[in-house]
């Protein structure tokens, strides 16, 4: 694999800006590149995006490859995977880092199969094996009950990283880097899939992934009515409402507030888990929270293994008293 060299980070762009996960990817990418003694490059794909290259350099990249094409204005897996295949085929990195986002989770495996190599999705730890110089890729498996470390012999070694699992570097505007453009060479007539519409679900207030406080409910809340009480506490704390999977599957709350392996991965300052048992798949989405406070009637519930503070009892009795006291304390 001598021909593959360096670490590349696919820096996802949305609404004309780099996503935070791009800087997180460059942060860990810098560490891996330094461990290998090889360069770090950033890969930008889109339309009219060349102006973002200095940000990628400030975030740690030595080189920025830009694939700029009007056909890439809107995200479509089919066109993006073709553009990536061409670019990554030219860059030939030993490691390619992407974000575990709506796009990354489908682009990474498709790209890996096209390039005859392996991908590991949703990594929470990455390191270079000092003996073999190969990438050790750690990811949660069994819904978070366990973690596995994977490695492979084919390049590029493709991974996606979990949101907030890695730290970005402080941007350094004085860093220097080279910008190289790569042609997408897309054939519009060969595109089979078509995006007809983007639908944004109604979500009033603060977005769950940006909130400092998240008040989340589980199956034990019992219905949409109960979630109004959780929403009241969330509003009071200027936070957002969340839920484990059952309330979403039952239609009590919008699917977009689901916290867990199949929903949002969040890391707020405070996570208040109400009537949530704490299944591994749910904890995958919130275990990065700074402080977890749990209310559950079962003292043996798994959530208490992760919580800093807890009350054992029926949430219908605990929550109103808790909310009233918080209201009083916040006002004073």
């Amino acid at each position: 694999m001598a021909e593959h060299l360096g670490v590349a980070v696919y820096c996802e762009i949305k609404g004309g800006t780099l996503l935070p996960i791009a800087a997180e990817g460059l942060g860990i990418g810098r560490q891996l590149a330094d461990a290998l003694g090889q360069p770090l490059s950033a890969l930008l794909v889109g339309s009219g995006i060349g102006g973002l290259a200095p940000q990628a350099i400030a975030a740690g990249a030595d080189k920025v490859y830009v694939v700029d094409d009007p056909l890439l204005k809107e995200y479509l897996a089919e066109t993006y995977v073709r553009a990536l295949q061409k670019a990554v085929g030219e860059i030939k990195p030993a490691v390619l880092i992407m974000g575990q986002t709506d796009a990354g989770r489908e682009l990474a495996p498709r790209l890996a199969f096209r390039l005859d190599t392996a991908a590991t999705l949703d990594c929470i730890d990455l390191a270079i094996d000092p003996a073999t110089k190969r990438l050790l890729q750690t990811k949660p498996v069994y819904g978070g009950n366990a973690q596995a470390v994977y490695t492979g012999d084919t390049d590029p070694q493709i991974v996606t990283i979990r949101t907030k699992a890695f730290s970005a570097l402080a941007p350094d505007a004085s860093r220097k880097g080279e910008v190289i453009s790569i042609a997408a060479a897309l054939d519009a007539s060969a595109i089979k899939t078509k995006v007809l519409d983007h639908v944004v679900a109604e979500a009033g207030g603060i977005k769950i992934e940006d909130a400092n406080v998240v008040v989340s409910g589980g199956r034990g809340i019992g219905g949409a009515e109960g979630f109004k009480q959780l929403e009241e506490l969330a509003r009071l704390l200027k936070g957002a409402l969340g839920a484990s999977r059952p309330p979403c599957d039952n239609g009590w709350v919008a699917d977009t507030v689901q916290v867990g392996l199949t929903g949002k991965i969040i890391a707020p300052e405070v996570y208040i888990a109400v009537a949530i048992s704490g299944s591994s798949q749910h904890m995958s989405g919130c275990s990065g929270s700074k402080t977890i406070i749990a209310i559950n009637k079962d003292r043996e519930a798994n959530i208490f293994r992760h919580a800093r503070f807890g009350v054992v009892g029926d949430w219908k009795k605990v929550l109103p008293a808790f909310t009233a006291k918080i209201r009083e304390l916040v006002a004073s």
Binding site: D102, R110, A112, F113, A118, T120, L121, P140, V141, Y142, G143, N145, A146, Q147, A148, V149, Y150, T151, G152, T154, K192, T193, V195, L196, D197, H198, V199, V200, A201, A203, E209, D249, D255, T256, L261, T262, K264, V270, G278, S279, Q281, I293, R299, N302, R305, H306, R308, F309, G310, V311, V312, G313, K317, V318, L319, A321, F322, K325, I326, L329
Partner: protein
């Protein structure tokens, strides 16, 4: 009338309590102590999505499962739910495959079966959480692929798919044949009916070995597991206790306010 293929997997029960999860130190394999294996829930959503399409436009549904030691009462569940036939890729050599080899074997079986219009998979399996089988099959067979479906409407050789995103969903149109992966937002899988269970009993699965689909599973893996371990959580929860539960709630509020957490 269309031909649908759905891929699903036998897994250790992901709904069993986390306390029953163990990794056998001798074999390095995971198990749910005392809980029998089940059909992977994400695969079950894919079966449900397949049946919804079959209900709407008519057709034949073939379920394919891959592994070793496949319990017939487990892998026959899609038949009981309404699938028409079952293909099992069953062999010791099919145990613990990486994503590459899994997709390669399934794609080879799908090719051998032939005549497909729609191939559905779960968004990921609940054991490996790999999320690559569907996209991998699509790439190997050279088919278009849409992931994370919450709704699938088939009309005139085209599928209109609602794809789950972090803010809502996208509507994507794809010509058939295509591969679609299914998310839990598709809706709860139906329960097998008594009639379905009786019908499933009479259907004998086709069992294919690696030689039947022309692959050598031990060769060509792209990824290997170096280590499988259980992270340890310290469990330092401070319980706020009081015989009067409302008083406990108030004490909790005071405590976290004093600790400047809220």
């Amino acid at each position: 009338m269309i031909n649908i293929i759905v891929c699903m997997k036998q897994v250790i029960d992901p709904e069993a309590p986390p306390s029953t999860f163990k990794i056998d130190p001798a074999t390095g394999k995971a198990e749910m102590h005392g809980a029998p294996p089940v059909i992977d829930p994400y695969g079950e959503y894919a079966v449900e999505a397949s049946l919804k399409v079959k209900d709407a436009v008519g057709g034949k549904l073939t379920a394919i499962s891959l592994g070793k030691g496949l319990l017939r009462e487990v892998v026959k569940k899609p038949l009981a739910m309404g699938a028409d036939e079952l293909i099992l890729l069953e062999d010791d050599a099919f145990a613990g495959l990486d994503s590459w080899t899994t997709a390669t074997a399934l794609a080879a079986a799908i090719k051998k079966k032939g005549g497909y219009d729609l191939i559905l998979c779960g968004r990921e399996a609940s054991d490996t959480n790999s999320g690559q089988t569907g996209p991998g099959i699509a790439e190997i067979l050279g088919l278009p692929c849409v992931t994370l479906a919450r709704k699938i409407d088939v009309k005139d050789r085209t599928a209109r798919v609602e794809r789950v995103t972090s803010v809502g969903y996208d509507v994507i149109e794809v010509p058939l044949p295509a591969v679609i992966t299914v998310s839990n937002e598709i809706g709860e899988p139906r329960y097998p009916t008594i009639k379905g269970i009786m019908a499933a009993k009479k259907i004998e699965p086709l069992v294919w070995k690696p030689a039947d689909i022309g692959i050598t599973p031990s060769a060509g893996a792209r990824s290997r597991t170096k280590k499988l371990f259980q992270p340890v959580y310290e469990g330092k929860c401070e319980f706020v206790e009081n015989d009067n539960i409302e008083e406990a709630a108030i004490a909790l509020a005071v405590k976290i306010r004093e600790a400047k957490i809220l």
